[in-house]
C-alpha cells in the first residue's frame, strides 16, 4: 500500500469520526428545538420530524407559566451581579497589584485559601444571615451572595492581568500630576478591557446557571430564576410538560449561547491566564 492510499484511509477515518461526533452533538440540540415546536405535550409524543410545527408551547410559556417573570428576575440578578462583582473584583485586584501595604501578602494568601472551600460550606450561615437581614426571598440577597463569592478567584485573575501591565504609564501620569483615582480610571481601566470583559461576562452568565443558591435564597414562585423554574418543570410534574420546557430551554439557551460564542476567545484566554498566573 503506498503513501497516497494510506493518507486517504486516514482521512476517511478522521472524517467518519468528525461526522459521527457532529451528529451526536447536534442531535440533542435539534431534538429540543423540534420538541419546542412539536404539537404534542409529552416526552413520548415528541418526534424529531413532527408532522406539523406549532408555536403554542411558546404561547403557553407566556400565558400558562411564570416564565416571563423568571426571565426578568434572572436578567435583573445577572445584570446587577455583573456590575457589583466586577466593581468589587477590579478594585481589590488593583490594590493588590499596584500598591505595597502591610497586610497585602496575608490578604493574597487568604484569598487563595478561600477559593478552595466549597461554596456549600457556608450555606446554612448565609441562610441565617440573610434571614436576619431580611434579605431572604429577595433578589438583592442573592446578588450579594454571588458577588461575595466571586471575589477570591476573580481578584487573583485580574491581579495577574494588572501585574503584566507596564508601570511606566502610571508613573508618567503621576508626574503629570494625576491622583490615585485619575490613574485608576483614565490609565488602568482602558488598558484592561479584555479582562474586564471576561470578568463581566462570566459574572453575567453565572446567575443563569446557578441552581443551588437560587434555590436556597429564593422561596416564592414569583421570585424564582430560570434555572430553578426550568428544573422544576421537568422533574416535578412527571414530564407532562416536556414541550413547554423545551420551548423555555430554547429561549434561555439561544442568547446565552450567542454570548458565549461571541466572547469565546476572551473566555479561553482568561481561563488560561488564570491557570498560569495563579
Amino acid at each position: 500500500m503506498n503513501m497516497v492510499w494510506r493518507e486517504r484511509i486516514t482521512l476517511l477515518i478522521i472524517y467518519t469520526i468528525l461526522t459521527a461526533t457532529a451528529i451526536a452533538i447536534i442531535y440533542p440540540v435539534l431534538w429540543v428545538i423540534m420538541g419546542s415546536l412539536n404539537p404534542g405535550d409529552t416526552l413520548s409524543a415528541t418526534k424529531l420530524l413532527p408532522d406539523k410545527l406549532t408555536f403554542k408551547h411558546f404561547e403557553r410559556l407566556w400565558s400558562g407559566t411564570e416564565y416571563v417573570l423568571w426571565y426578568k428576575n434572572t436578567l435583573f440578578i445577572a445584570f446587577w451581579n455583573m456590575i457589583l462583582s466586577t466593581f468589587l473584583v477590579v478594585t481589590a485586584a488593583y490594590a493588590f497589584s499596584r500598591y505595597r501595604f502591610p497586610g497585602r501578602r496575608q490578604g493574597l494568601m487568604a484569598m487563595l485559601v478561600l477559593q478552595m472551600f466549597p461554596g456549600f460550606m457556608g450555606m446554612i450561615a448565609i441562610y441565617i444571615l440573610l434571614l436576619q437581614l431580611n434579605l431572604l426571598d429577595n433578589h438583592w440577597g442573592l446578588i450579594l451572595v454571588y458577588a461575595g463569592g466571586s471575589i477570591p478567584f476573580g481578584a487573583w485573575l485580574v491581579k495577574g492581568y494588572f501585574d503584566a501591565l507596564p508601570r511606566s504609564l502610571e508613573e508618567a501620569a503621576k508626574l503629570d500630576g494625576a491622583g490615585n483615582l485619575t490613574i485608576f480610571f483614565k490609565v488602568m481601566m482602558p488598558l484592561s478591557k479584555p479582562i474586564l470583559v471576561f470578568v463581566a461576562v462570566s459574572n453575567f452568565i453565572g446567575p443563569w446557571m446557578d441552581f443551588i443558591f437560587a434555590r436556597l435564597v429564593l422561596r416564592s414562585d414569583e421570585k424564582k430564576t430560570l434555572a430553578v423554574g426550568l428544573f422544576e418543570m421537568v422533574t416535578g410534574r412527571g414530564n407532562t410538560e416536556f414541550t413547554t420546557f423545551a420551548a423555555g430551554a430554547v429561549l434561555v439557551a439561544v442568547p446565552i449561547t450567542i454570548l458565549f460564542l461571541l466572547f469565546q476567545k476572551h473566555l479561553v484566554e482568561g481561563l488560561k491566564a488564570g491557570a498560569n498566573k495563579g
Binding site: 482521512l11 472551600f117 466549597p118 460550606m121 421537568v234
Partner: protein, 435 residues
C-alpha cells in the same frame, strides 16, 4: 537612661492613647483614649453575653403550653453566629490595641533618637497618602468577611455540634457542642460510615475517569482538526464548540429527557432496531455510564479549544527536524506534541479534577443521585460527596454530618490547589514571597 520608647509602649499597654499623650500627640491620644473608653463602656456587657452564648449555645429551651409559646427560649444558632461576630470584632480590637502600643513604641524611639514625632496634620496626610489601597479594598474585604469568612467559620463550627434534625433543631430545642463526635460517627457509626465510604470512593472514581476522559477526547479532536489535510476546519470547530456554549444546566436537563428509560428517544430507537431498552437511570451501572457519557459530551469542547491553541503555538521547526530524522507521525505525536500539551495544561487538568470532584450540577440535574441504594443513608448510587452534602443539608437537616463532609471535601480540594499553586510560576515569581 529611661527610654521614651519603653515608657510610651508601657503606658499605651495600660490604656490606649496614654503613650501617645506622653509623646504630646494630643489629638491622636485623645481619640484612642475615647475609643477604648467607648468600647469598655458600651461593649463589655454585650461581649460577655455573646461569649456566654457562644460557649453554652443557650441554656433554656423553648417552653410551650397547649401548643402556644410561653417562653421563646434561646436560639442556639443565632447565639453562635452572634458569638462568632463578637469574637471577630474582639480580635480586631486586640489588633488595634497592638498597633496602638507599637505606634507609641515607634514614636518614642524617634524621640529617643532626638527626632520630632509627627503632628496631627502630618499624621492625617500620611494616612491619606498611604491609605488609598485600603480604601480600594474596603468593599471587597467587607463582602468577603461577611459572605465568605463568617459563613465558613460558622460552617466549620457546626461540625463540632449536634445541630441536626429532628431532635436538635432550634428554636424548639437547643444545640450543644459535642467535640469530635460527628467525625467519629461518620467514620465509625455503621449507618453513616457505610454511606460515606461508598460515596467517597465513587466520588474519586467519578472525578478521575470524567476528568481524564474529557481531557483525552479533547486532545484527540484537537489533533484530528489539526491534521493539515482536513478541510472546513472552522465549520467542524463551530459544531464541536456547541456543547460548551449551551448553558450546562439546560443541556443536562435535555439529556435527562433523552436518556429517559420509558419515554426517551434513545430507548425508542433501540427498540425500533430490535434491542432491549437500556435502564439508563434505573440501574446503578448504567446510571454511572450515562453520567460519563454526558460529561464527555459537555466537557470535551473546552479541552479541544484549549489544546488547539497550545498545538498551534508549538514551533513548526520541531516537527521539521523530526521529519528530517525520519520520525513517524506516531513518534511526532508522542515525543513532541504530547509532552508539550500535557506540560502546559497540567494546572488546568488538576483544577478540572477539583471541578469534577464537586460537579454538583451534572449529577443533581441528570440523575439526582439515583437510583436508590438501599445500603445508603440519604444517598443514591450516583451521589458524590457534594450532592450528598446538599441532600443532608437542605433535605434532611443533618447539618453536623454535612459540615464534617464539607470539611473533608475542603481538605481534598485544598490539597490539590496547593500542589497546583506550588508548581506554577506564579508562586515562585510572585513578589508576595519576597516582600
Amino acid at each position: 537612661m529611661k527610654s521614651k520608647a519603653k515608657v510610651g509602649a508601657l503606658l499605651s499597654l495600660l490604656f490606649m492613647g496614654l503613650g501617645q499623650l506622653y509623646h504630646r500627640q494630643f489629638a491622636k491620644g485623645i481619640f484612642l483614649l475615647l475609643l477604648e473608653a467607648y468600647v469598655l463602656i458600651f461593649w463589655s456587657l454585650p461581649f460577655q453575653w455573646a461569649m456566654w452564648g457562644l460557649t453554652t449555645l443557650g441554656e433554656t429551651p423553648q417552653i410551650r403550653k397547649a401548643g402556644r409559646i410561653v417562653y421563646p427560649g434561646d436560639h442556639s444558632i443565632f447565639l453562635m453566629i452572634e458569638g462568632i461576630i463578637y469574637l471577630i470584632a474582639f480580635l480586631l480590637f486586640i489588633w488595634i490595641y497592638y498597633l496602638n502600643i507599637r505606634d507609641a513604641y515607634k514614636t518614642g524611639k524617634i524621640r529617643d533618637e532626638g527626632g520630632v514625632p509627627n503632628n496631627i496634620k502630618q499624621t492625617l496626610r500620611n494616612i491619606w497618602e498611604n491609605g488609598f489601597p485600603y480604601v480600594m479594598l474596603t468593599p471587597a474585604v467587607l463582602f468577603t468577611a461577611f459572605l465568605t469568612i463568617l459563613p465558613l467559620i460558622f460552617g466549620i463550627a457546626i461540625a463540632f455540634t449536634n445541630y441536626s434534625g429532628p431532635n436538635y433543631l432550634p428554636p424548639k430545642n437547643l444545640v450543644d457542642w459535642v467535640g469530635f463526635k460527628s467525625f467519629v460517627d461518620l467514620f465509625q457509626l455503621k449507618t453513616w460510615s457505610r454511606t460515606f465510604y461508598g460515596v467517597f470512593i465513587w466520588t474519586f472514581i467519578w472525578a478521575i475517569i470524567s476528568t481524564i476522559s474529557i481531557y483525552f477526547v479533547g486532545m484527540l479532536f484537537a489533533s484530528l482538526l489539526g491534521h493539515r489535510k482536513i478541510r472546513f476546519k472552522r465549520f467542524w470547530r463551530a459544531i464541536f464548540i456547541l456543547p460548551w456554549a449551551v448553558p450546562g444546566f439546560i443541556s443536562t436537563l435535555i439529556m435527562r429527557n433523552i436518556f429517559n428509560g420509558e419515554f426517551g428517544p434513545l430507548n425508542k430507537y433501540l427498540q425500533v432496531i430490535g434491542f432491549d431498552p437500556i435502564p439508563w437511570f434505573s440501574d446503578p451501572f448504567w446510571a454511572k455510564m450515562t453520567l460519563f457519557m454526558v460529561n464527555l459530551w459537555l466537557g470535551f469542547p473546552f479541552w479541544m479549544l484549549l489544546m488547539s491553541g497550545v498545538m498551534t503555538s508549538i514551533d513548526k521547526e520541531l516537527y521539521e527536524a523530526a521529519e528530517v530524522d525520519g520520525a513517524t507521525a506516531w513518534q511526532k505525536f508522542w515525543k513532541i506534541m504530547f509532552p508539550i500539551v500535557v506540560f502546559s495544561t497540567t494546572p488546568l487538568l488538576i483544577m478540572g479534577f477539583a471541578g469534577n470532584f464537586n460537579n454538583f450540577g451534572l449529577i443533581y440535574f441528570l440523575t439526582s443521585g439515583g437510583p436508590v441504594n438501599p445500603d445508603y443513608t440519604y444517598a443514591g448510587s450516583t451521589d458524590i460527596l457534594i450532592t450528598w452534602l446538599y441532600k443532608l443539608t437542605l433535605e434532611q437537616n443533618k447539618f453536623n454530618i454535612a459540615s464534617v463532609v464539607s470539611i473533608l471535601i475542603f481538605i481534598v480540594v485544598a490539597a490539590l490547589s496547593i500542589y497546583n499553586f506550588r508548581r506554577t510560576r506564579a508562586f515562585r515569581e510572585e513578589d508576595m514571597m519576597s516582600q
